[in-house]
Point group: C2
Chain length 147, copies 2
């Protein structure tokens, strides 16, 4: 009953796999409140909230590393809301840069499709040509991961 707060209970409550909970533990994002004598992990409702937090932050595009930072901000009493805000803003800027790039690409693809409809041969395709050009690395849309 009430003592059923095992890893399986937690996983089910938060809608993730048991292995994922253990994976998050290895990544220092989450730990059990204790262990039974048998070694079984014991959790509380806090853990469910924390796991939900992780899931939502992940859906917002934060990496597990970033989520870890967010979580430790929460623990660290001196941290201010502004710290969190800055992280969210950095993430937003990355997303906006990506949006700009993708919008340009969508426009280019629509152009290609129009050209195809006009019966133009593909070797005149301007986007494909454009993509062969040496591009001035200008507004780099984040290398790999936004930190």
């Amino acid at each position: 009953m009430t003592s059923q707060r095992t890893i399986g209970w937690l996983a089910k409550s938060a809608g993730v796999h048991v292995q994922t909970v253990r994976y998050y533990e290895r990544q220092q994002l989450l730990s059990p409140v204790g262990r039974r004598p048998s070694g079984y992990r014991v959790y509380d409702h806090e853990a469910v909230a924390r796991l939900r937090f992780i899931r939502n932050a992940k859906a917002l595009g934060f990496t597990l590393r970033e989520i870890g930072e967010l979580l430790s901000l929460r623990v660290n009493g001196r941290a201010r809301c502004g710290d969190v805000q800055r992280k969210a803003e950095a993430k937003l800027h990355g997303v906006e840069a990506k949006l700009t790039d993708l919008q340009a690409l969508a426009r280019a693809l629509r152009g290609l499709i129009r050209m195809c409809q006009a019966g133009q041969p593909i070797d005149r395709c301007q986007i494909l040509r454009q993509m062969e050009r040496e591009q001035p690395a200008s507004q780099q849309s984040q290398k790999r991961r936004t930190s």
Copy 2:
């Protein structure tokens, strides 16, 4: 000399590592025009354009698999324009779906940032509170990383 079109020349010309060129070859994105008797790969200027294409498409968020499709689209282009058009349209739909996801993400981030009254102690941070809420994964799938 003109006969220096080895993998090293290509890699330097396109600004990637030699191993990356070989990796792309394994991924069927690029192949040498031939081999020297010694086995050395030989490339031409086309290869530089192709590598630049790959780099630029990658910067736009295409996976190597998708880039392969784009490249074969270019090669098959002369044959059947209808085929090409369908592929381009599929690609466009993919880009538009990505755009929708990213726009939702940006909206969510902006909403969170607005809620934050900087200077609040961390335990009153609305961003963090919001992220603890049960958010039933909602509509957007988020299958691929958006970073």
